[in-house]
């Protein structure tokens, strides 16, 4: 039986009728047209679908949309808007400047996970970054520039 849920996505309130089995990833992409959240493995392993729910990184392919009822969901689109129109978030700037992506498929998920990481630890070591991003796989970069991008964004966010 369908249910009506209310949730906020990127600061915007939505009221949507959903099947209980609908995954949050599909709600975001297919119902709200927020295709910045990618679906890679669909099996909870790659992290491409990572979004923030109440500020915490979760794999949106492994969460029912109904579980997000009453929550604040942030996707990659909301990060840019949050920092002001046309203005990218420092993490996005840093991935661009440090060449932290090649095909870009993993990037939205990487950035959302890194977002929680930097909220909790503004000055992470290289090891802490690698450990924090364990749930996000990249098939292109070899991770070096991703780590550099997170370090650079951390410095920027600290005002350095």
């Amino acid at each position: 039986m369908n249910r009506t849920i209310r949730l906020a996505v990127n600061g915007r309130e939505h009221s949507l009728e959903v099947e209980p089995r609908l995954l949050l990833a599909h709600l975001l992409r297919d119902r709200l047209d927020l295709t910045g959240t990618h679906i890679g493995c669909e099996t909870s392993l790659c992290g491409a679908c990572t979004v923030l729910v109440d500020g915490r990184a979760v794999k949106s392919c492994t969460l029912l949309a109904v579980q997000a009822e009453g929550r604040q969901v942030t996707t990659i689109e909301g990060l840019a808007e949050g920092a002001g129109t046309e203005q990218l978030h420092p993490l996005q700037e840093a991935f661009w400047n440090e060449h932290g992506l090649q095909c870009g498929f993993c990037t939205p998920g990487m950035i959302m996970t890194a977002h929680q990481l930097l909220e909790e630890n503004p000055e992470p070591s290289e090891d802490e970054i690698r450990h924090g991003l364990e749930g996000n796989l990249c098939r292109c970069t070899g991770y070096q520039n991703i780590v550099r991008a997170v370090q650079s964004a951390a410095a920027e966010l600290r005002g350095g």
Binding site: M1, R21, L23, R56, T62, Q67, T113, Q116, E134
Partner: protein
């Protein structure tokens, strides 16, 4: 990748949740969903009704009461890792086990109650629960039933919980002279334990007063190494003693797992190594 259709309820109280469980068959409880959702998506399981505990108040807490720690079943790995209380004494084996689970995203959602109830043969938390000699409090409409961790695990994905029960709380003693540790050899692809060892020690100066060691990942379920524990209790702690006792630890494993990730011989050999490391760190906190 959609699960098969199911009905969904998010009861607002424990009593309401228990009434739903009592009122039907083929019902699954949903906690963090980090095991249930992958199972549903692969359609390995097709419940008629999913009962989501997210609105049930009073199931997520970490408290110290009368020298015991009580943890609500919905407490997440992230909550455990962030707790100073769990990062101390014997409880440290639980903190280290929780920190070793999966990745940040999984730790944000996965719960202690979900891990114990799911009883994956390679899960980390069950080994810690055994080493802590924890009491698991199940609740049904008939009231509470306390099950000791030693009686809780019944092999592959099976526990002592009845369909009408949910796991409500985990409790264990916090002795003043205790230390705990968890050691894990990860399977490179999944991060699950090839071998995991949890150890809890109670020390009187250099003497081992009590020792409990449990393994996970090496056979059909987690289990205590009673013979190894007996060999250590009453002795003076030394690296040679622990090394000698752990050399044969692997022999206690009944039908060791052998799969694409590691042979039985490797798991047996590594069981002794991880047990030794865990024991030395658990006891060493008190030297």
């Amino acid at each position: 990748m959609l699960p098969a259709e199911f009905d969904y309820a998010a009861p607002a109280s424990l009593d309401e949740a228990l009434a739903l469980l009592a009122g039907g068959t083929n019902i699954r409880i949903l906690a963090g969903g980090q095991s249930l959702l992958p199972t549903l998506k692969l359609r390995l399981d097709r419940p008629d009704l999913v009962v989501d505990l997210r609105k049930v108040p009073e199931l997520s807490y970490i408290r110290e009461e009368d020298g015991e720690i009580a943890i609500g079943a919905l407490t997440t790995y992230a909550d455990l890792v962030a707790s100073d209380l769990i990062d101390s004494g014997v409880a440290r084996c639980l903190a280290e086990a929780a920190a070793s689970v999966g990745d940040l995203q999984v730790r944000n959602l996965g719960t202690i109650g979900g891990s114990l109830s799911h009883a994956d043969p390679a899960a980390d938390i069950p080994a810690a629960a055994l080493a802590l000699d924890a009491s698991l409090v199940a609740r049904s409409e008939e009231g509470d039933r306390t099950i000791s961790a030693g009686d809780f695990f019944h092999g592959l994905w099976a526990t002592a919980l009845k369909p009408s029960e949910l796991l409500r709380e985990i409790r264990f003693r916090m002795p003043a002279n205790g230390g705990g540790a968890y050691e894990k050899l990860r399977q490179a692809a999944s991060g699950f334990a090839l071998v995991g060892a949890a150890a809890v020690a109670e020390m009187d100066g250099g003497t081992i007063e009590a020792m409990r060691v449990a393994l996970t990942g090496v056979s059909s379920g987690p289990f205590r190494l009673h013979a190894l524990e007996d060999r250590l209790v009453g002795e003076t702690l030394s690296e040679e003693l622990v090394r000698e006792a752990c050399d044969k630890a692997g022999e206690a494993i009944e039908s060791p797992l052998s799969d694409a990730h590691a042979s039985a011989e490797y798991r047996v050999a590594m069981a002794g190594v991880t047990a030794r490391r865990a024991i030395l760190r658990a006891a060493g906190q008190w030297r």
